[in-house]
């Protein structure tokens, strides 16, 4: 009788722990895709930049992170300051192509920002999931000023 109780309790504990781990992981890893948003990677970003001259690239990181380097031509707008009011002067029209990025897959800022943009009604949304980490790793140029 005592033996079966132990077995059941152990199983319960293991399940709980697994859920907790998964839940925690979900907090720090950006989702694979965001509905209504086109996900791009580094090469895709370059191709996009070439085809879409009106593309606005928004850096959702805080100033301290941005100091480590940023994409040439990107604008700094931390996710904490992102709102319909702050987006409007940068994008002007709702169909302005806009790309958000932050540090990388462990960073949730660009996720937050792009979702806000979507809510504000912007239609041509792009998101660089790999972020600055991926950009730098691949050897693409960045500025530091």
């Amino acid at each position: 009788m005592l033996g079966t109780i132990n077995f059941r309790s152990a199983g319960l504990i293991v399940t709980l722990v697994a859920f907790a781990v998964a839940a925690r992981a979900e907090e720090t890893i950006a989702p694979e895709n965001i509905p209504g948003v086109t996900r791009v990677e580094a090469e895709g970003l370059l191709a996009l930049a070439e085809k879409t001259p009106r593309l606005v690239i928004i850096d959702s990181r805080i100033a301290m992170d941005r100091k480590q380097g940023y994409l040439d031509g990107s604008l700094s707008l931390p996710d904490t300051e992102t709102s319909c009011a702050t987006l409007a002067p940068l994008l002007v029209t709702k169909d302005r192509p806009v790309l958000f990025y932050c540090n990388g897959e462990k960073c949730g800022r660009s996720v937050v920002a792009v979702k806000i943009a979507k809510q504000c009604g912007y239609t041509r949304l792009y998101w660089y999931r790999g972020g600055f980490e991926d950009w730098k790793l691949k050897g693409f140029p960045y500025l530091k000023k």
Binding site: A42, L71, F140
Partner: protein
């Protein structure tokens, strides 16, 4: 034997030492080689790292330069003069003034990788002549798409000078041209010294000195050092720079030398110990036991009385066996000797001592007198009318008779172990007494410590008495008597011949006068039984 063994061990020791030293030398060589290889690898890794650092900085400089709005404008407009001016002014960027990069040249290209302008430290260059690193441009031209955005770097020879160039895209995410940042890599490579802590020497491909660390020792002080050199080559394989790093291995050499000394000392000590031990073992197990055996042999050789003595040799099994065999032989020889002696000194018929033995005993008795003042009495006797018995009954009966007579005589003497005297001073044990057969029907007796006529007479009378009983031999009853002549030593003679003579004469007197016994000087003393 000792020498052979000792020499063998020393030889083995020397061989061992030679082997150890050879091994040590191989090890030393191997260690140094390993150190050199490790050092070479270290140099290579450090050089690569320095160049990577340089690439990173040059890239940063390049990207910073191309982001200047003035530069972008000039590049977009395509005005070469303006471009050149722009480039020129950039030589004052902080990277350069802070000594992080030794900038040599800046070259700007259009999107087709054609040179638009260049600037060197101090002057601007316009026109078309090759200002940059050709291999770099060739490589750049081969790229397409997103690859063009990635940096490109190359080592090349520009006017026989070694240069390190980095190409960056200019214009942001959509390149409108390229900027080549060409620097002198030597200062960056010089920093290897502070990074590794080892002296550095940099030479060009013709072995001309470019940089020598202050700590680099002069050529005559180069022993105990290890030098590892890395040849930096362009992508095409042309050697450009030879970067050497020096490591002081004196400590290592000293350590190895110390080890070598230690090995030598240990080897010598071990050999000596081995020799001593071996010699000691040899001594105990072989030489000393053999010596024991040899000593015994010599002892026996000097004095045959030692024959028959057993020897314990100890030592190794073979020698112990030898000892046992020796003992066996010694016992055999002793027995043989005894037999020989016995044969030599015994009368075969009667088993009594023979004449030779008798004479020896006589001499010994005289010696005893000289040493210990021990007198003795000599009795000579023969059988009366023995010849007649022999003639009538035959020699065989005669022989048997002699045997019986011997037996009786001997038993009488044996019984007379103590001859009591009136004053109760007993003559204890007539040891050393003997009765011998001199030959034919002659017998003799020696009575030690008998010095008086009375004592000698008493014994003689006993002998005479014993002869009274007839002998029963093969059915014959034979009555036979004896006559005894007695001479006392030293009373009746100071030497053996005299004594014998006088005893003999006394005997004949007794026989002729039929008085049984007689003494020399009192031949008048006759006694009738």
């Amino acid at each position: 034997m000792r020498f052979t063994l000792g020499a063998t061990i020393v030889l083995m020791g020397l061989l061992g030492l030679a082997l150890a030293l050879a091994t040590g030398e191989i090890y030393r060589h191997q260690t140094l080689e390993n150190q050199r290889t490790a050092l070479e690898e270290l140099v290579q890794i450090t050089v690569d790292r320095q160049l990577r650092d340089l690439e990173e900085r040059a890239r940063e400089l390049g990207l910073a330069l191309q982001s200047e709005s003035g530069f972008r404008r000039a590049l977009a407009s395509g005005k070469r003069g303006e471009l050149a001016d722009q480039l020129q002014s950039q030589f004052r960027q902080y990277f350069v003034t802070a000594g992080i990069i030794k900038l040599e040249r800046l070259v700007v290209y259009d999107t087709g990788h054609r040179a638009l302008g260049a600037a060197s430290a101090g002057s601007k260059i316009t026109g078309n002549h090759t200002a940059g690193c050709p291999t770099l441009i060739d490589q750049a031209r081969a790229r397409a798409g997103a690859e063009r955005m990635k940096p490109l770097s190359a080592l090349c020879l520009n006017n026989n000078q070694v240069r390190y160039s980095v190409l960056v895209p200019a214009g942001g995410l959509i390149p409108i041209g390229y900027l080549e940042v060409m620097s002198d890599p030597v200062p960056a490579l010089m920093r290897i010294e502070s990074r590794l802590g080892f002296p550095v020497r940099i030479r060009d491909s013709h072995d001309r000195r470019i940089f020598n660390s202050g700590a680099w020792p002069p050529p005559n002080a180069m022993h105990n050092t290890l030098v590892a050199e890395y040849v930096l080559a362009t992508a095409a394989g042309e050697p450009t720079l030879k970067i050497a790093v020096l490591r002081d291995v004196e400590v290592l050499q000293q350590g190895l030398a110390k080890t070598r000394w230690l090995v030598m000392v240990l080897a010598i000590a071990a050999t000596l110990l081995g020799v001593i031990l071996a010699l000691y073992i040899l001594e105990r197990t072989t030489l000393r036991p053999l010596n024991n055996l040899a000593l015994q042999l010599r002892r026996v050789g000097r004095n045959k009385d030692h024959l028959g003595e057993q020897v314990t040799t100890g030592g190794i099994a073979e020698i112990r066996e030898l000892g046992e065999d020796f003992n066996l032989m010694a016992r055999e020889l002793d027995r043989l000797y005894g037999s020989l002696e016995h044969l030599a000194f015994t009368d075969p018929l009667t088993n009594l001592p023979n004449r030779a033995r008798f004479h020896d005993t006589l001499e010994e008795s005289v010696r005893q007198y000289t040493l210990a003042h021990q007198p003795f009495a000599l009795l000579l006797t023969d059988l009366d009318r023995f010849k007649a018995v022999n003639d009538s009954l035959g020699h065989h009966i005669g022989d048997l008779l002699l045997q019986e007579v011997s037996t009786r005589l001997r038993s009488v003497l044996r019984e007379s172990d103590t001859v009591a005297r009136l004053d109760n001073e007993a003559i204890l044990g007539l040891e050393g007494k003997m009765v011998a057969r001199l030959g034919g029907d002659e017998f003799a007796a020696i009575l030690p410590r008998v010095s008086s006529i009375d004592d000698a007479s008493a014994v003689a009378r006993k002998l005479l008495l014993s002869m009274q009983e007839p002998f029963l031999i093969r059915g014959h009853a034979i009555s036979i008597g004896i006559s005894i002549g007695i001479a006392l030593y030293p009373l009746h003679g100071k030497d053996i011949d005299t004594l014998m003579q006088r005893a003999d004469a006394a005997m004949y007197f007794a026989k002729n006068n039929q008085c049984g016994l007689a003494f020399p000087n009192n031949m008048q003393q006759k006694e009738l039984i």
